[in-house]
């Protein structure tokens, strides 16, 4: 009885341990979230008085062709990079984990493939900006010397090419990360499944489709959801790669580039805040749909 009372008294210390987190959380995380939502209902330029306008900013957003352009651009950049990212990561993971190939140096290759992921995105963007330079860039020089191109391409001015290049950079930055996660997933699969499949006479392809892929579903969900949350917020690469406003021809105008320009270049704080919450809605809906889809698939296997 006595010890119970004693430990109950000690349990209250839990509050002291978590207190600093929640003080900072309330001021620096929760308040800005709520306040941004409030600002999305106002007209405000950062200096003069705040005017309440209700849902007017959201009404404007729905009719704003630049917002929809940024929406489509963001999705296109993400989809064009996530599909090869997962595809190549799966292929590499299947090579590395297949004992029949006995790939040497898989640790080295994984480490090299992951390297771009850590490097500052702003530096990567400026690096590609100079590499892609029309007259003096290394990419044109390399491709011409290899005979792939006859004339230099003005990459940074081609609105059809630049979204593909941003997708490529994103792929380049992230495929090693996805590879490491998928490898971990494959190594976590109980070998007895494979043994049973081999006894049943399944071939390599059947094993991959029927056993490996279904068992990788949790890790795939994690990869896709985190990539989606990050991909919808893509900013550093498209912002630094061209003029910071989405050039050429608004093809790199992503949702956060648009948010930044509305908020901090044109001082439309209210409208920028509405873009932020529209972005949040997109991410929330997609995450919920993905998780639902995932669990629906689960039941089918039971």
């Amino acid at each position: 009885m006595k010890t119970k009372k004693y430990s109950f008294y000690k349990e209250k210390y839990g509050y002291y341990f978590i207190l600093p987190y929640f003080i900072v959380f309330s001021i620096f995380i929760l308040y800005p979230l709520v306040y941004t939502f409030y600002l999305s209902m106002t007209r405000y330029d950062g200096f003069s008085e705040i005017t309440w306008v209700g849902f007017q900013n959201y009404g404007r957003l729905i009719k704003d062709q630049f917002f929809w352009k940024s929406f489509v651009n963001t999705w296109r950049i993400w989809i064009v990079n996530i599909i090869p990212q997962i595809g190549i990561a799966l292929l590499l993971a299947s090579w590395f984990s297949d004992v029949r190939y006995r790939i040497k140096g898989s640790g080295f290759f994984r480490a090299v493939f992951y390297l771009p992921n850590l490097v500052t995105a702003a530096s990567v963007a400026l690096l590609f900006n100079v590499l892609l330079d029309w007259q003096h860039g290394a990419i044109n020089q390399l491709m011409i010397s290899m005979g792939i191109l006859k004339e230099p391409i003005h990459w940074l001015g081609e609105s059809t090419l630049m979204p593909l290049i941003v997708s490529f950079i994103q792929w380049w930055l992230w495929f090693g990360h996805t590879l490491i996660l998928i490898m971990a997933g494959i190594l976590g699969i109980d070998p007895s499944y494979y043994e049973a499949a081999v006894v049943d006479g399944a071939n390599r392809w059947q094993i991959f489709i029927r056993i490996t892929l279904p068992l990788l579903k949790p890790i795939m969900l994690y990869v896709i959801v985190t990539s989606l949350i990050g991909g919808m917020q893509i900013f550093d690469i498209p912002f630094v790669l061209t003029d910071g406003k989405g050039a050429p021809a608004s093809s790199l105008l992503t949702m956060v580039v648009y948010l930044y320009n509305q908020g901090f270049q044109y001082n439309n704080f209210g409208y920028g805040a509405a873009i932020a919450y529209a972005l949040f809605l997109v991410i929330l809906l997609c995450t919920v749909v993905l998780i639902r889809f995932y669990h629906k698939g689960d039941k089918e296997y039971e």
């Binding site: 209250k12 839990g14 341990f17 900072v24 306040y35 630094v240 948010l259």
Partner: protein, 279 residues
Amino acid sequence: MSNKTGGRKISRILIYFSLIFLTIICILPFYIMLINATRSNAEIVRSLSLLPGSNIIKNYHSMLKGVNIWRGLGNSAFIAISYTILSAYFSALTAYGFSKYKFKGKSILFGIVLLTMMVPAQLSLIGYYELNNKLNLLDTYFPLILPGIANSFTVFFLKQYIDANVPGTIIEAARIDGASEFKTFHRIILPIISPAIATMSIFNFVFAWNNYIQPLVLIFSNEKYPLPVLIGFLRGSSYKTDFGAIYLAIAISVLPIIIAYILFSKYIIGGITMGSVKE
């Protein structure tokens, strides 16, 4: 049978060929960056080279005219180190509180920590700017550093680690010896969980070092900008015509991370999967 092994040999060759090709794709941009950082503008403009030039000193002086790179490096280091230390200490504190004490509202409060992990970081950018405007913290490092105290992902990760690696008997033993709760935490818990703190600290450091949009919005003074913002400014600057200097600036901004990666790659690669799915 021999046909089968022969086919396997060909696949192995193709696999190694692909792996080497991908290795080149991953390294070549950085390699060209390093080579061109040592070449003169005329050489860079004329042709591509795989061998270094001898112009690095000139590029260095020319770069310093356009960007105060060492100042930026110092600023970035200050911000990233402060953020990492705050994250390490306060996340451990919070995680320990959640892991080893039972108090009212605990599951709701921990639910809030988990939810915060899902909230996209850019969402509150405008409100964050306004908050710091009101608090007179614009153009200071506080808004870039203080959120380290409320680092939800690190809290989540460390709580998992404490749950699995710190037995309650150790805490009971310390209590019986008369140690206060905080003394127990500082003297006993922190050393036990230091490997997990080290892993998370690498990621927190890289995150704070690479952070771009927040300092871009919150900092105004030239001498206070961290490195990524200075690098971003080099893109439209008139000084862009000096490619050697630009490549050198990029190289200096990238090398600390690459060197850290070469030193710690084992922990970094191990750490990536620790935070992900463990169902």
